[in-house]
């Protein structure tokens, strides 16, 4: 009797977590995954005309740099490839790519005719033995080969992640040269990855706060050309510019476009008080949005254009507030220790990036639009001026190093706080503004 009872108990113990009598399929819940880059392979694009082989390799390398640079993907080294892609049309040997654990495969081909390139590519889901989306083809001049590669990257990124890419985009920034006490600044524009740098102004006057228009065709910036700060509007294509119409005798700075590009919101300092104004670009009519005796600046529209986030010291310390786009009562959303500034609304609309200063350190952080879920992504001697990638996934900002020899550089970080890296620029760089995906 005792033995039988013991056996019964042992059996019960062995099934301490028994499954209730099962109806239907076995149900399993997975709640923990891994955060790691997804392995992919991008063999050199197949040359379909004589002499195109060099382009094939270049294009593939830029695509690989784009994808790997996101931190979300990891390239399977070319030496590890078992299959060679010899023809764009031949079937993919999925087993060979599974063997090297490539989950995604990008195959492409390039043909050159004169100074024109034609690029086509496909994306394969290796473990599903099928193509992701359908093949695409671009054509352009050899001069624009990097843009074609970026477009391929955008398509690949989009098909794998389900979100838009950001590779075929540009950044306008302040290029800096010279020592700290005699720094020369001018506006520069470059691809998102630091390539193709060109300059939009000379360095005869200090320039600050360049901001792309939503279509990427114009840039607002602040210049001290006349001795006091004024906001200028510059056409990127023609490099022509004009002063933004604002009330006379006022210092204006910190401009930003509205999402429809018809208005500019900016700060105006007059008589020792700084407030936020909005002006219609077409008519030049300005309207005051705040009227507190404190300093209100760094305004940024929400993507729907209905609200404006800005910084103010009306509470005694610099904090972030949100108000209707037409002005009116503002709601404070930052409550943590330290000072908050330069808020920028995410293109997705869900987050606000900001600069935070606390305990002698500067941080780039994000919070929800109600101020909740604040997360600090970086920390250094001086981090400031965040700007969002067009898909709201990456933040670029300025990092300045300490000391007389310190210099400013551009960095980017994923919104998850991962993948912090420097954006290569020819010299010092600060105050980036990330433009939209190019059409």
């Amino acid at each position: 009797m005792i033995g039988r009872l013991a056996m019964a108990l042992a059996a019960l113990w062995a099934f301490a977590t028994p499954v209730a009598a099962q109806d239907g399929p076995l149900r399993i819940e997975i709640t923990e995954g891994v955060v790691e880059p997804l392995p992919y392979a991008v063999p050199d694009f197949v040359a379909e005309t004589p002499g195109a082989a060099e382009w094939g390799e270049r294009l593939a390398r830029v695509v690989a740099a784009d994808l790997t640079g996101t931190g979300l993907f990891r390239e399977v080294p070319r030496e590890a490839h078992i299959s060679a892609i010899t023809s764009f049309a031949s079937p993919v040997q999925f087993a060979d790519w599974k063997a090297v654990n490539a989950q995604a495969l990008v195959t492409g081909a390039v043909a050159q005719q004169g100074d024109r390139l034609t690029v086509k590519f496909r994306v394969w889901d290796v473990f599903a033995d099928r193509e992701l989306g359908q093949g695409l083809q671009f054509s352009g001049t050899t001069e624009g080969w990097r843009r074609m590669a970026h477009k391929v990257s955008d398509a690949v990124y989009s098909r794998i992640t389900g979100e838009d890419g950001y590779f075929d985009s540009r950044v306008v920034f302040v290029a800096e040269t010279g020592p700290k006490d005699d720094r020369r600044k001018r506006l520069g524009i470059m691809d998102y990855d630091g390539a193709n740098v060109q300059y939009l102004t000379d360095s005869s006057a200090i320039v600050l706060n360049p901001r792309f228009s939503p279509d990427g065709q114009r840039v607002l910036y602040t210049s001290y050309e006349t001795g006091s700060p004024r906001v200028y509007l510059l056409d990127v294509g023609s490099v022509s510019r004009r002063v933004l119409p604002t009330p006379d005798g006022a210092n204006t700075f910190s401009p930003r476009f509205s999402p429809d590009a018809r208005q500019v919101v900016f700060s105006l300092a007059q008589g020792g008080n700084t407030d936020i104004y909005v002006t219609e670009i077409a008519s030049g009519q300005s309207r005051r949005l705040t009227s507190a005796p404190s300093i209100e600046t760094a305004p940024s529209f929400s993507p729907d254009g209905r609200r404006i986030v800005f910084e103010s010291d009306r509470s005694g310390t610099q904090q972030i507030y949100i108000m209707p786009a037409s002005g009116g009562e503002a709601t404070r959303i930052s409550f943590g220790p330290g000072r908050y500034g330069t808020p920028v609304w995410s293109p997705r609309g869900d987050l606000i990036a900001f600069t935070k200063q606390a305990e002698g350190r500067f941080h780039i952080g994000v919070m929800r639009t109600d101020g909740s879920e604040e997360r600090l992504l970086t920390a250094s001697f001086l981090d400031e001026g965040p700007t969002w990638s067009p898909n709201g996934r990456v933040i670029m900002f300025t990092r300045e190093t300490q000391g007389a020899q310190g210099s400013a550089a551009l960095y980017s970080v994923d919104v998850s706080g991962r993948n912090l890296k420097r954006v290569p620029t020819p010299a010092g760089a600060s105050d980036p503004s990330w433009g939209p995906l190019q059409q």
């Binding site: 056996m7 062995a14 920390a379």
Partner: protein
Amino acid sequence: MHAGHYISGAGHVLLIAWAFLGGAFRTEPLPFEVTEVSVITGEEYAAIMAAQAPPEAAPGVDGLAEPAPESAPVPEAPAPEPPPVRPQAPPETAEPQPDRAPEAPPEAPAPEAEVADSVPELAQPEDTAILLPDATPRPEPRPADRVAPTPAPPPPPGAETAPDTVPPAQAAPEPVPEPAPEPEPEPTAPEEATTEIVTEAEERDAAPDATPRPRARPERLAAAPPPEPAAPAAPEAPAEETEDAPSPAPDDVNRSAVDEMLAEALGGGGSGTGGPPLTGAERDALRVAVQECWVVDVGSQAANVTVTLAMSLSRDGTVMQDSLRLVSSEGGEGRAVDTAYQAARRAVLRCERGGYDLPPEKYDQWRDIEMTFNPENMRVR
């Protein structure tokens, strides 16, 4: 160290107590001997004991029967209550220490640009790319033989560094040096091409309250496949029963109760679902196997979506062709759902590796599986 023993002991005591007191063995009142007892006070007890003591002093008196000492109703101490069993059984695994990401390698200083102060004309950057969707026919995947059964020869060492021969933008008067966005044509991509800097973790000892730390590691480690505890036990049970045949009648009643317990524990309890269900350990092993391949992009919209996939498995543990399908989703829509589904699907297929390790005798139990992928714990907070 002994927490397991205590918990085990407490569990056993509870089970025994339940088995005896909860009526598990009692289908009808059993015949039993009734012994009448009476409650006595301390004085009475002392008196009784005192009455027992004297016999030594008093010489035996014939005819006087001494009270039987064994009949003294000693107040029995109540059975000690089993200590309350704590509800949580297994000790939680320690929170994984956030792995400290290596500091980003210092970037090689970009070449100093020679600066000229003239306003350049901008190179015409407008798009020259033309999007031609569907311009290329899909190749018919045919079961062709391998085109190149031999591995492609590695490229010559210098092949990657194709010199940048792109002519500089003609319109730009300044010879802007190419900042070499892909400067190092390393033959092997760094394993972690990304650096991860969570600065607050470095700056403060306490866990950062605001810094995102994706919880990357599964809580349960993939332990060795659990032993099959149950299968052999089942046939033994009846065999043993036959041996103690000459047991008294009350035991027969108990035996049937024990048999019921055994049958229920082994899952055979007449459910008719074809074999015992998977044990918790077997389910865990499957769960761990899949989650090791589930790559979650914590910063994406898809990280808000919980998807449930249905699939059918062959007897060898492989997922049947075309049986994988999306059953339901919540927390998002459109592309986010599709991305979440694809990630889950890849996890299932990647970790299959020739078939999941599942007990073949329970095939009926795991032939059809519904797997829910819930990234809630992974999400950036």
